[in-house]
Symmetry: C2
Subunit: 524 residues, 2 copies
């Protein structure tokens, strides 16, 4: 693979001096035009040690406007990063739309290095590369431009370069023992890099291998390539804008997304029909069971904290289905230091300038916490789908993106639970009317709730799809029978307790008995 | 101080049951009204161990709407937090306007604990408390409501409570060895707490000492107090809104802020008149000196990184004074992993929902980095003052806030440099016109630049004030003579190098000689 980058490509000093001013002008113009588009640009500068990654990054910084540019050098993970899934530290550094993020090696550093050091088996390496492919696809599908450069040097050339760098007082501090160690592993590194490039050299985020012996050739080639790709993005954007201004409807534009196979009514059963809404529980049984489950949950939350296992609990459901009440019955039971409730509101403008999952990655809990989400990323395939805020291709690919996201969480050891709180239309109506009567509940009923209600059937289809496509082994949906609020609350608590017991590997017997406990304080 | 909280206050079960529903309704209403105001609410729940801080937080969570509420339990600082000034971890957790943040102990945990353990001398304790006072004042002046509760138990009662908690299987995990250790230090803790409360019990963010023997009294009293304070804020906000709607001009409202003592012209000399704008340097001398300083800066940046010292360099200046060019001459010299350029653009809506310094706290560099700011927090006392975006009381108190901010940075060991790039009106005009001729510079000249130019004299006053009030020992301003760009760049580089040498304690001789170095690559 790398032979093609050992052919002696060169640019003379004169040619370089002549080309740079023009290139800079074009780069600045492109960058300015880029800022008007909705494309975030991710540039990965990777390569052999001493090939001059730092110099290339410096050249790009110098030739472009630093105001639209960010350089991201990722070091050893901090403890905040270690307490979260692997990709968190990349998510938090992603550039916003219209901006450029230059990553030193980016997400390729660890897999290549670990494999070169023999700490990663080929199968694990391939698994890591699949994760990377998914991550990049998700970004590209969201409109990102990803440019990946591998700066190559032959073994001899690398050795020469390292000696030269370490003799020069200007640069010798940038050569560490680690660099020499890496140099000895040149073949292992090249081998690992080739594997990484091979597996991730996709059409939508291709690699560019840059011969780096001649530094002028190297810098100019990378910058030229960046320029061409920016211009391509800009041209596409402008063409689309022009069409839009001409009033033409674009295939990719947001159109109300009534699914073509929408044909419900009494004919088609959905997964919601499997929920037995007649189930109830008496007030007396409820109180008794509530005490038992809350006691159990209290102890399980401490045990999870001790084991440093995070839990993430998703609440979705019909308006007035009782999400808030169910959440409160859980949080009452736990020590306030151990949980956090995140209510998903409209995204801020910063959040809007990123992939829709960005704002959820931002808030991923650190180890040992229980995080309860009141509405979540599922908005994408529910309200955004039904209201047409997301276009068809956006919400359709969201299932895969969400599954990957949750898989990432689960693989990191986070326990993921998801609840859909179901009720029927009559019960919802009754509650809406009731809410309008109670002063401190009145603000909970808005015009929007009534509008959503009119779209009941469309939501049913969306929910059915959602459960079908995203109820996975590692993050299953539980549908809760919500016509009886008390029954629903117990069902939630029971499910959470069972799952935690199973995941934490503790049995009822191992936990201190709840029966012995005298409730210090009655709550609720 | 605490005797007043050992008098046996109680609420009966019946009274409690009767009062809670009404209280909840009022709390929810108040919270809803609060969300329309621009007040962030900070509630600190502090107190003796086992007094039930967690239970109070739980009660508030249960009685209020979790969607407008966040609970912040701050643990041992993470390494990301340790790499930044002490208050960073509190800044990053502050609630946005209209929202409530409940802090477990908040910024009082460390000083009280450290003093109780004898790790903090009284003088150091007082110094820490002064920092806290300043931090709270800054938030209050920005409109925040700060409510501080100290939950008190007598020594006997604490001991009883701990025994009870550790016998109850529901709660015994929440009692740690550390709690017993603290209990033995009851007197030391109480002593430290009293000192903390005494020094920070200001009119604008008072402490409330809550007798906590009776849990019902405790929870109800805290919640009542929260309610009263919320209602007070809301009433004030509504009164103000009403006045505003009636078209009355309020003393505190944003008014164009032409300072009353504005009387410049040829009569009054300002600090800018001390800058000798006739200074120049020849092209040949420039090139030679540039190479020397850049070489030196390169090595100093590595040395700073080795010493884990951060550097923060502020660039402010007239439009077209050459900020970008000066910044580039610096960044060229450094390894791209060691620096970051932050260009201050308009705040995002998330940023607008906090104190104006919040967005700068957000981006504080981690240890060992050089961070260059292209425009900064000084916008508050420059453009925001001149354009009236900040009202007079806002920009007037900004000097103190900024000085405190920079003192925080400096005390954490961050090297702070500030440059004002000066030029005269003729030179600015020449550059504006020149820019309009150069294609890739044309976008840099906007209507706004011309408008700013018209307000030259007002800016001169603002700059003079700024330098007078914020040029401190730990963060001095350097005024740069910018009529000759080359001279300006060298002056910046020289200042940075000198300061770094002094701060890092290295002399020219200790650094490898630049003369020996053969430049690998000519840049620029």
């Amino acid at each position: 693979m790398f032979e093609a980058a050992e052919v002696g490509r060169k640019i003379t000093k004169e040619a370089f001096k002549k080309q740079v001013p023009k290139l800079r002008e074009q780069l600045l113009q492109a960058q300015f035009a880029l800022s008007k588009t909705n494309t975030p640009v991710i540039i990965i500068i990777s390569g052999v040690d001493a090939a001059g990654r730092g110099e290339v990054v410096n050249a790009l910084n110098e030739w472009m406007d630093p105001r639209g540019l960010e350089t991201i050098a990722i070091d050893t993970p901090t403890d905040e990063e270690q307490a979260r899934p692997y990709f968190w530290r990349y998510w938090r550094q992603l550039p916003a739309r219209g901006r450029i993020g230059i990553f030193f090696g980016g997400w390729y550093v660890d897999p290549i290095q670990d494999m070169a050091y023999g700490q990663l088996e080929p199968a694990q390496m391939d698994e890591a590369l699949i994760q990377i492919r998914r991550f990049e696809s998700l970004l590209v599908e969201d409109g990102a431009l990803i440019l990946k450069y591998w700066l190559h040097l032959s073994k001899d050339e690398q050795c020469k370069r390292l000696h030269k760098l370490s003799e020069d007082p200007h640069t010798r501090r940038s050569v560490s023992d680690r660099d020499w160690q890496h140099a000895e592993l040149y073949d292992a590194f090249t081998h690992a890099a080739e594997r990484a490039i091979r597996h991730t050299d996709s059409g939508d985020s291709p690699w560019h291998i840059i011969e780096s012996t001649n530094t002028r050739y190297r810098d100019l080639t990378v910058a030229q390539s960046v320029l061409e790709n920016l211009n391509h993005v800009i041209a596409k954007y402008e063409a689309r804008e022009q069409l839009r201004q001409q009033g033409e409807i674009l295939a990719t534009a947001a159109t109300p997304s009534v699914p073509s196979d929408f044909n419900l009514g009494n004919q088609t059963r959905t997964v919601l029909d499997t929920v037995d809404l007649t189930q109830t529980v008496s007030a007396k049984d409820y109180r008794k069971a509530l005490t038992t489950y809350q006691g159990k949950l209290h102890r399980l939350a401490w045990e999870a904290s001790r084991q440093k296992r995070s839990t993430l609990i998703v609440f979705e459901g019909w308006d007035a289905a009782g999400k808030g009440g169910s959440i409160r019955r859980m949080t009452q039971a736990m020590d306030a230091r151990l949980y956090r409730v995140i209510s998903t509101a409209a995204p801020t403008d910063e959040e809007r300038a990123h992939h829709y999952l960005w704002r959820f990655w931002r808030h991923i809990p650190r180890a040992g916490m229980v995080t309860v989400y009141d509405r979540t990323w599922y908005g994408r395939v529910l309200v955004e789908r039904v209201e047409g805020f997301a276009n068809e291709s956006e919400w359709k690919r969201a299932y895969l993106e969400i599954n990957n996201f949750e898989e990432n969480l689960a693989k990191h050891g986070i326990i993921v639970l998801k609840f859909w709180l179901h009720l029927d239309q009559e019960e919802q109506l009754r509650r809406f009317k009731e809410r309008e009567q109670i002063p401190y509940k009145r603000h909970k009923i808005t015009e929007e709730d009534w509008r959503n209600r009119e779209k009941w059937d469309e939501y049913v289809t969306a929910i059915d799809d959602m459960v079908a496509r995203t109820s996975t082994e590692f993050a299953p949906w539980t549908l809760i029978a919500g016509n009886d609020k008390r029954f629903a609350r117990l069902q939630v608590l029971e499910t959470v307790c069972q799952r935690l017991e199973a995941e934490l590997g503790v049995t009822e017997e191992e936990l201190p008995k709840a029966e012995k406990a005298k409730d210090k304080k009655k709550k609720g």
